[in-house]
């Protein structure tokens, strides 16, 4: 039905290596997804051909379900990340944009509060992993579009060598 394995495609050499500028969860998640993908990364911003900047990362929660006594039973946890990408000349590859993800978190009062607290941390980590996948998919689209514009469209399959999660 037309499906084929996602192809790996060279990143234009002038954009390599990639530097991920972030101190947060999503930055770590992105970096851990890159090895083995053909994308060269660097920890030295001055050597980068392309910079992916995590501009902001924030989390928030709000009550969405209550018990008979008016006490919280469920929250929605929201994770928001804003990012952009530029080449080493400062040209925009991806304009600043946001991804907002959320998940319901049940706070059962009968169980270990410390355990539940860890579960909310796990959820934020999950959401950051999800966001990392989406950031990389958008970067891949941006690089494909750039490649098409400069006549370097890969012949095998579309994509910029950015891996699946």
């Amino acid at each position: 039905c037309g499906f084929q394995l996602r192809g790996a495609v060279d990143i234009p050499p002038d954009l390599s290596p990639l530097y991920v500028q972030s101190g947060g969860l999503v930055g770590w998640a992105i970096e851990s997804r890159l090895p083995g993908s053909g994308v060269q990364t660097t920890r030295d911003a001055t050597k980068a051909g392309m910079v992916l900047r995590i501009l902001s990362e924030s989390r928030d929660s709000r009550v969405v379900a209550l018990d008979r006594n008016g006490r919280a039973l469920a929250y929605v946890l929201t994770y928001r990340v804003r990012f952009d990408a530029r080449d080493d000349q400062g040209n925009v590859l991806m304009p600043p944009q946001s991804i907002v993800l959320e998940r319901t978190f049940d706070d059962n009062p009968d169980v270990s509060v410390l355990g539940k607290q860890e579960e909310s941390d796990i959820i934020y980590q999950d959401l950051a992993n999800d966001a990392a996948d989406q950031v990389l998919l958008r970067l891949r689209a941006a690089l494909t579009a750039r490649g098409a514009a400069s006549g370097r469209t890969p012949s095998k399959a579309p994509g910029g060598g950015v891996p699946a999660s």
Partner: protein
């Protein structure tokens, strides 16, 4: 036309051209009220709206700017150096202008007197009046019967018996009327015996002032201090008036104190007729190293509570980064009694709290490792939580994390070492030492990944107050193995006329953890993870380190995404998965061994339906159950309009918990603008399970440019065995008379997801 290009401070310089050389003056047009607004708009009322830092102070004209002097006819008295000009006089200097039919200028001391109708202009200020006495050397002066107009950083207008110009930045007025409403509107005005407007400080100060609404006096104040631009500065914020079933009549008059550019405070006296006076305060700071907030509330005697008992709340929140590698975090809240937040909280997030976190931590971040020290306790404020069920405190927790490090042929290894002392007054307590190394061998390709990994969980306890017959030093050493494999297929697709990419992502996850008897171990920080799609791929079905679930199972899952080819934006994502068990799960926190050979199905759906609409859903479905097959379900629909209209609708239910903790709730919230000047907001959180409204409010905001009214009515479930209690809150805002800041707006940001104050 005669020009005296002399510096203003040396008016006694060379004489001007003689009268005989002058050509005829410009045709004189008497300035009228229209001149005040000529070329100026009224796009905003009062201070220019802005949230970006301090407003730029207007440019000061340099004192050396030359003066242009134009008149129809000029006579020059040589011996006294006085110029008599008539037939239309126009004196101009960069940014300043004086126009009158007749004027006398004394070149020695700089005095300029005008006769009859006179028009004055300074940067940001225009005045039209009679008979001005000015001094061009000192830039001071006065003018009678003055109509004035401010523009630039603020839009203001009015009339005064006498206007004094102290300098181009500061003016004073006697018997003045003042408003920020556009010409033609007299919605409100301020009448004051004296008023000073200082553009340099951005302040207006009125004495003996009366506020008139549509001409009717409503308020008298001997002294009023208000901002005339958008700079952050001390002053009263918009007060709010309210009435509630629980507290009676309410009045809050917050005062904002701008201590320093990186420090501010807000004092909020709150009067409640049935309870008495409460004093609230918040202090915020921001420095290169840390930032934080301290907030406190104090009620010396609450007449509704325990015969006038003292009540209060305190919280501190701080994040810091010191000496490059130290990160600190303080999050501490405390209230005087269990009912405090329910009685006095204003949002459902506060009134529904079961507990308050009291925690502080410091982390040292090394290269590839970090060390966390944390103390953590809770104040339980839900009386429904039995003493034994209250949370453990961690006094302290020490955690060394060795970050995942690559070595050898693509191996990745890391570890955690933890020591904690868990504290409790009503249950077994004690120390726990844990060591958990892990090793994985990730193979990642563009078309998928294969990641085998091994984990080891070593845990030792030293316990006090354990039940009779239980060992005081249990421990366990449990290995675990898993392998995670995923492939990504994709194809091109046409999505409503746009090129798109559709993926199919099958994923298999195998997990093996041998059974180890952990019944002797206490449950300090372990709880069972909710069953959902992400948790299908977790190597332990419990959180924490007290329980490591035995497992021999495989997860099968499939995800499909549709992405817009041009941007990579996700248009649609659908995930579905299930676990197949090859062994019973004997390790449990409570309850019996689980014996089913497959889990319920779990899935997620998220869809961008159009530019404005988005939808999400998630579920847990167990076809083997006879009833309540849909165990957990959420449905959310979101609408976002570019003109700030929005709507959120959601439905959430959980049938898996104990009877008292199950829920089935709907939540609707919205913001609907009506034209440019009015909007309606609201939220309705309803429990289908208890057939009861938990939180509902509706509000309307309307007004013109120079005044706004916000009215908000609400019902909030605060207490068990009581219906939601109702309250009303009203806020008037007169643009240009109160400091920016809007507590109702903050409340709406909290309650309506996606709401942003303008």
């Amino acid at each position: 036309q005669s020009a005296a290009d002399n510096p203003a401070e040396t008016p006694a310089g060379s004489p001007p051209d003689s009268l005989a050389d002058s050509p005829p003056g410009p045709r004189w047009i008497e300035p009228d009220a229209g001149r005040l607004d000529l070329g100026l708009g009224w796009e905003f009322c009062g201070p220019r709206p802005s949230r970006l830092g301090p407003a730029p102070a207007p440019d000061l004209p340099t004192p050396t700017t030359p003066i242009d002097f134009e008149a129809g006819g000029i006579s020059y008295l040589l011996d006294s150096e006085v110029i008599e000009a008539t037939g239309g006089v126009n004196v101009a200097r960069a940014g300043q202008r004086v126009e009158a039919y007749r004027a006398r200028f004394d070149r020695i001391n700089g005095d300029l007197a005008t006769f009859g109708t006179t028009f004055l202009e300074y940067p940001g200020v225009r005045i039209l009046g009679q008979d001005a006495q000015l001094n061009l050397a000192s830039d001071t002066g006065r003018i009678n019967d003055a109509r004035y107009r401010f523009s630039g950083t603020t839009n203001l207008r009015g009339h005064a018996d006498v206007a004094y110009v102290d300098n181009p930045q500061r003016s004073r007025y006697d018997n003045i009327s003042y408003t920020s409403c556009p010409p033609g509107s007299n919605a409100w005005s301020l009448q004051a015996k004296e008023l000073t407007l200082d553009q340099e400080t951005g302040r207006g100060i009125a004495r003996n002032a009366r506020l008139r609404i549509r001409g009717v006096p409503v308020l008298y104040t001997p002294y009023l201090d208000f901002p005339i631009d958008d700079r952050r500065k001390s002053g009263f914020l918009v007060p709010s008036i309210g009435s509630s079933e629980k507290n009676g009549f309410e009045l809050t008059t917050p005062y904002y104190w701008n201590i320093a550019p990186n420090m501010d405070a807000t004092l909020s006296p709150r009067y409640m007729s049935r309870r008495g006076l409460m004093l609230g305060g918040e202090f915020r700071w921001l420095s290169r190293r840390d930032s934080g907030t301290v907030a406190a509330e104090f009620m010396p005697n609450d007449q509704l509570y325990d015969e006038g008992d003292t009540r209060g709340a305190f919280s501190i929140n701080q994040q810091g980064r010191f000496f490059e590698r130290w990160i600190t975090n303080l999050d501490y809240s405390q209230v005087s009694d269990n009912e405090y937040l329910q009685d006095l909280g204003n949002t459902i997030d506060t009134t529904s709290n079961r507990r308050l976190l009291q925690s502080g931590s410091a982390t040292y971040v090394g290269n590839g490792w970090s060390f966390l020290t944390r103390v953590e306790a809770y104040q339980t404020i839900d009386p429904g939580v039995a003493p034994e069920a209250r949370p453990y405190g961690r006094l302290p927790q020490l955690l060394l994390t060795l970050s995942p490090r690559r070595f050898g042929p693509g191996l990745v290894g890391g570890a955690e070492v933890e020591y904690s002392h868990f504290d409790h007054n009503h249950r077994v307590y004690g120390e726990r030492f844990a060591f958990s190394p892990n090793l994985s061998w990730p193979l990642r390709r563009s078309y998928g990944h294969l990641i085998p990994s091994v984990n080891l969980h070593l845990t030792e306890y030293a316990l006090t107050d354990e039940a009779a017959g239980q060992p005081s030093d249990p421990g366990h050493a449990i290995p675990s193995f898993d392998i995670d494999g995923k492939l990504v297929f994709e194809r091109q697709l046409d999505w409503l006329g746009q090129p798109a990419l559709q993926t199919l992502e099958p994923r298999l996850y195998y997990l093996y953890t041998p059974y180890a008897d952990q019944d002797d171990a206490p449950v300090f920080d372990s709880s069972e993870l909710n069953f959902n799609f992400s948790n299908l791929f977790r190597s332990n079905r419990f959180t924490g380190r007290d329980r490591i679930g035995d497992a021999n199972q495989i997860t099968a899952a499939l995800t499909s995404r549709t992405l817009l080819s041009s941007t990579g934006d996700e248009l649609l994502r659908l995930s579905l998965g299930q676990i197949f068990y090859f062994a019973d799960r004997r390790v449990q926190i409570s309850g019996d061994t689980e014996t089913s050979d497959r889990s319920p199905y779990t899935g997620e759906l998220s869809a961008r339906l159009s530019e404005q609409w988005a939808g999400r859903a998630s579920f847990e479905w167990d076809p083997e159950k006879d009833e309540e097959q849909w165990q957990r379900r959420t449905l959310t629909l979101e609408y976002r309009h570019p003109n700030s209209g929005l709507l959120n609708l959601s439905y959430r239910a959980d049938e898996t918990a104990a009877e008292a903790n199950r829920y089935e709730d709907t939540d609707l919230s919205f913001r609907l603008p009506f034209g440019a000047r009015a909007e309606v907001v609201g939220r309705w959180l309803y429990s289908l399970r208890h057939d009861e409204t938990m939180d509902a409010f509706a509000g309307v905001e309307f007004g013109e440019c120079c005044w706004r009214v916000r009215v908000l009515g609400r019902k909030l479930k605060r207490q068990p065995d009581e219906d939601a209690s109702s309250s009303v809150m009203v806020q008037f805002e007169l643009a240009g008379l109160s400091t920016i800041g809007n507590p109702i707006g903050k409340f709406l940001e909290r309650e309506i997801y996606g709401y942003q104050t303008d």
